[in-house]
């Protein structure tokens, strides 16, 4: 027992860890009980086809088969999955719970089979005959957006389901007056969040109440409950959704999935508890993808190295339908300029449907792409202007006195973009110093001939927090402990530790008398959930607000007990003190006992709820720099050193923020060195295992140098900004810039995320050598 309160800013070790380290964490799979039925989803084996026939055949009479469902079994009005990013001019490309007539991606659910265990369900599923009439598939976003392309939704008349454009200033004039125009095309590959815990859910009837209870490995239990009620017609009162401990999310558990609906429908129809956990091969096409888009960017540069204008044309491949959050090109149309002033700007984005798994946000949600594009442009501009790469950035950065900085654009669905605070020059200088930018030329000169060293940098500015008002409830339990109910679902980010720490500091009470609950819609029925780097900021401010309301109620109760006025009772570190009074101070436990004795119902009165009202999003920023070494013989790239200076406002727990940054950087690293979801020509997914879709391993982790600058956000009392994504959003940009630097000006690296595999690097080196031979002839 530590008596002292935890302080905001301390590197507090996590309260979650003891259970997780001993294997006692309760994840979704730990909720499966004997007697529950296993659901197997039968998925389309075609990218695009008409379903001619579904024949359950003999399994309908097999005693092992506990139930089947296909689209024909669903009520007419059940079926459309929700999409939050359908903007006013979006074509409503909704996915169906089960494919109706047409399948639009390999992996799309077509039918389900229930059995007493997963082995038997899989056997039964293999005996179901589905007769497909293949249709031409759209696998390429360029081809799919052209006139005459096969259409996924003939009723829309086009595969382009959304277009948007914005303009600031006079980009045409700026380009006309430009000293140099830089142009580059970027291609971002299709990636997956792929947390180690697969998706899964269990639907059952709650024993006492008879309500429907769905446990799901989700980041958004409250949104899921609302949407499930809407889709299935089950009333909200009869539906409870709980997220147990979630083994990683990164955005892919931030959707409403067909399987969650199907489990509820199966429970209702067949009257038995039923579970589903995706297997890994299934996951690669059943769980949302991320990132895929292409961008053409032009930049106008004046003679002093000032970027006067940029324009971007973005084509996003959203897959076969909108997922819950598919509007990742929002970053391209609103946020491409990042930390740079760039007075003139124009952007256009089109979202195109293709015969692939639906795209959703994945850690960074569009920022990794815009950061890579903008930062490559800055390096190309530096080369064109004959300027140092750090110098050209300094000349274009917004300065501290320019905040709040209204960028003159709006983020589709999220409102006007106004950067709240920041000190970008200091963040850049800090990172340059951390990575040893000044001494890098000497370091490079010392490296051996077989290895090329390169240094790259990037600067990311991203929207964090906001996204809806945040609830918190604080109550005194009969055992004298404080219980905080938060809407921030725990997905590995350490929110229980952080929220308890913030509340401990706010109330001046030891953190170990505070329990934190999250993830249960009975405790927090209405909350946005865990995404958009909003947890610590929104949950922390809400906890403090509940804390203040609690203190008020506690003082009121103490005043009543002491027969004095509220103003005469002070709260000091969990103790109620009568000012100038002779009575003994009341601890929470003595307050509880005294109030109980007088039938004042203390646990009812000391049970307060608060709502931290939605604020405008705050803009966190970070400067990354990477040193890479490329083996000229094998083409293998190693990231040696990695520096990040991060500014997410005031930091509650730097230990956990550092963890978020390092983890994010490695995901970004994987996305440009190893990962890409591959498809065969006919649209068959080729990535089925972690041998095909290669994730970063420990040997790929760089030496990290992490720094923080804390520029408080004026938008919330704690001065915080989000920290969950900036590590991921800047990494590919810094690494690709470092690769280009290592390869030198004669080799043109392809624009985009690669992946920069050894084979690609060897090709680039070979082609450069061949060119040199040619010119020598």
């Amino acid at each position: 027992m530590s008596a002292a309160p935890e302080k905001f800013g301390q590197r507090v070790r996590r309260r979650e860890d003891a259970a997780l380290l001993t294997g006692k964490g309760v994840y979704l799979a730990d909720l499966i009980r004997p007697g529950m039925a296993a659901m197997r989803v039968i998925r389309s084996t075609h990218a695009h086809a008409r379903i001619e026939r579904i024949d359950f055949g003999a399994i309908l009479h097999d005693p092992d088969c506990l139930g089947v469902l296909c689209a024909a079994d669903l009520p007419e009005d059940i079926g459309k999955l929700p999409a939050m990013d359908l903007l006013e001019n979006s074509a409503p490309a909704h996915q169906r719970v089960l494919a109706q007539g047409t399948v639009r991606y390999a992996g799309e659910p077509v039918a389900i089979v229930l059995a007493s265990d997963a082995y038997t369900a899989e056997d039964l599923a293999e005996r179901v005959i589905i007769d497909y009439e293949p249709l031409p598939a759209v696998m390429d976003v360029q081809a799919g957006s052209r006139a005459g392309a096969p259409l996924l939704y003939p009723e829309f008349g086009s595969n382009i389901v959304h277009q948007t454009a914005q303009r600031v200033g006079d980009p045409g004039g700026a380009f006309a007056a430009a000293h140099v125009v830089i142009e580059e095309t970027f291609s971002f590959r299709r990636l997956m969040a792929s947390p180690l815990e697969p998706r899964g859910a269990v639907a059952m009837l709650e024993p006492d109440s008879g309500r429907y209870l769905l446990h799901s490995s989700t980041q958004i239990p409250q949104v899921l409950r609302t949407e499930l009620a809407r889709i299935t017609g089950v009333s909200l009162e009869r539906l409870r959704v709980v997220a147990p401990r979630v083994g990683g999310g990164f955005g892919c558990k931030e959707a409403v999935y067909p399987e969650e609906v199907l489990l509820l429908l199966a429970l209702r129809k067949f009257g038995r508890a039923v579970y589903w956990i995706e297997d890994r091969a299934e996951s690669f096409s059943a769980t949302v993808h991320g990132r895929e888009e292409s961008m053409r960017v032009r930049a106008a540069l004046d003679s002093r190295g000032i970027v006067t204008a940029v324009e971007v044309d973005c084509l996003a491949d959203i897959g076969a339908a909108y997922s819950l959050f598919s509007n990742t090109p929002g970053a391209a149309v609103a946020m491409l300029r990042g930390p740079y002033r760039i007075p003139h700007f124009s952007s256009r984005a089109r979202s195109v449907v293709t015969n692939k798994t639906p795209l959703n946000v994945y850690r960074g949600a569009g920022y990794p792409q815009v950061t890579l594009a903008m930062e490559r442009i800055m390096d190309l501009a530096a080369a064109a202007a004959g300027l140092d790469r750090a110098e050209i950035r300094h000349r274009n950065l917004l300065q501290p006195h320019e905040f709040p900085a209204d960028r003159g654009v709006s983020y589709p669905g999220c409102g006007q973009v106004v950067y709240d605070s920041g000190n970008y020059p200091a963040v850049l200088d800090s990172t340059l110093e951390a990575i040893g930018y000044g001494g890098f030329a000497a370091r490079r000169a010392q490296s051996t001939g077989d290895h090329a060293l390169g240094l790259g940098m990037s600067f990311v500015v991203e929207m964090t927090a906001g996204c809806g008002s945040e609830p918190a409830r604080l109550r005194l339990l009969p055992n004298g402990r404080l219980q905080l109910s938060s809407g921030i679902t725990a997905i590995g980010q350490g929110s229980e530790t952080t929220l308890a720490q913030i509340l401990s500091d706010h109330l001046g009470v030891p953190a170990d008398i505070i329990d934190v609950l999250a993830g249960d819609t009975d405790d927090s029925p209405d909350a946005p959930g865990t995404f958009a780097s909003r947890g610590a900021t929104m949950g922390g401010n809400a906890a403090c607000q509940a804390g203040s309301a609690f203190v008020f109620e506690a003082r009121k109760l103490a005043a009543e007990l002491r027969g004095t006025r509220l103003e005469h009772i002070d709260w000091e570190g969990g103790v109620l003190i009568e000012r100038a009074g002779r009575n003994e101070p009341l601890s929470l436990t003595s307050l509880l006992a005294a109030a109980e004795a007088r039938n004042l119902a203390p646990t009812e009165r000391l049970n307060v709820t608060a709502r931290f009202e939605d604020t405008p999003v705050s803009f966190a920023n970070a400067c990354h720099a990477a040193v890479v070494s490329i083996d000229r013989g094998t083409g293998v790239i190693r990231v040696l050193d990695y520096a990040v200076t991060h500014d997410c406002g005031r930091i509650a727990n730097p230990l956990l923020v550092d963890g978020q940054i390092m983890g994010g950087v490695l995901q970004g690293l994987g996305g440009c060195l190893f990962e890409a979801l591959e498809y065969g020509e006919t649209g068959k997914p080729l990535s089925q295992t972690y041998m095909d879709y290669v994730l970063p391993t420990a040997a790929t982790a760089p030496r990290f140098i992490l720094r923080h600058i804390e520029t408080p956000s004026p938008l919330n009392p704690l001065g915080m900004k989000g920290a969950g994504e900036a590590g991921c959003s800047g990494a590919a940009a810094a690494i690709v810039n470092a690769i280009a630097d290592a390869l030198g000006p004669k080799i043109r690296v392809p624009g985009g995320s690669g992946p920069f595999t050894p084979a690609l690097i060897r090709d680039l080196l070979r082609n450069a050598a061949a060119l040199e031979d040619d010119s020598a002839c």
């Binding site: 996590r14 799979a29 082995y119 056997d123 179901v128």
Partner: protein, 189 residues
């Protein structure tokens, strides 16, 4: 003509090729407790441990033998429980993360105390979602004890390269690995 291009997913009647109903009796110890069960011949060790031995610390993340999250010790050797059939573990001694103190060769002062490796992971924030953690702890404990045995008296400790080589058998999607490496190095000093 349409018939010719039409694709029909061929039903594969598993029951005609493999007798899935075949069962076998297995017995083993799991974290010190005897386990006897009659299981289908194709039943995976990971499922047996989770469903019949209550070993919730065996996490199945990929089920393909790649990520290492389900790693357990079978007769003192690190095994991916998702790749071994229950029947292959017949007659063995299986240890999961619940036996970590034994695997580390430590006798905890109190039953609920964390082991030195667990403490190091907590101290260095070497876990976030925790899904990869138990398997990683089991194989790291085996790795460290094997090193201790092999180098008894020599005084040499595994270096960074050997630790990375060991860690390459495990995927972690949250931490970026640096804190895991730091945690392991800290128990060596």
């Amino acid at each position: 003509m349409i018939e010719a291009t039409r694709s029909v997913s061929t039903p594969l009647d598993v029951s005609t090729t493999v007798d899935v109903s075949m069962t076998v009796d297995v017995s083993m110890t799991v974290d010190g407790a005897p386990l006897r069960a009659r299981v289908p011949a194709r039943y995976l060790l990971s499922d047996l441990l989770r469903e019949q031995a209550g070993a919730g610390g065996v996490h199945v993340a990929c089920g393909q033998g790649i990520c290492g999250a389900c790693t357990v010790a079978v007769d003192g050797t690190a095994v991916r429980a998702c790749l071994m059939l229950a029947v292959q573990a017949d007659g063995t001694r299986v240890q999961t993360v619940a036996s970590l103190s034994e695997l580390e060769g430590e006798t905890p002062a109190r039953r609920d105390d964390l082991t030195p490796l667990q403490k190091a992971f907590r101290e260095h924030h070497a876990l976030q979602c925790g899904f990869c953690t138990p398997g990683l702890l089991v194989s790291t404990a085996l790795f460290l004890s094997q090193h201790r045995a092999a180098r008894e008296g020599a005084g040499a400790r595994p270096g960074r390269a050997e630790i990375l080589d060991h860690l390459n058998g495990h995927l972690c999607r949250c931490t970026g690995y640096a804190n895991i490496i730091a945690a392991i190095e800290s128990v060596l000093t």
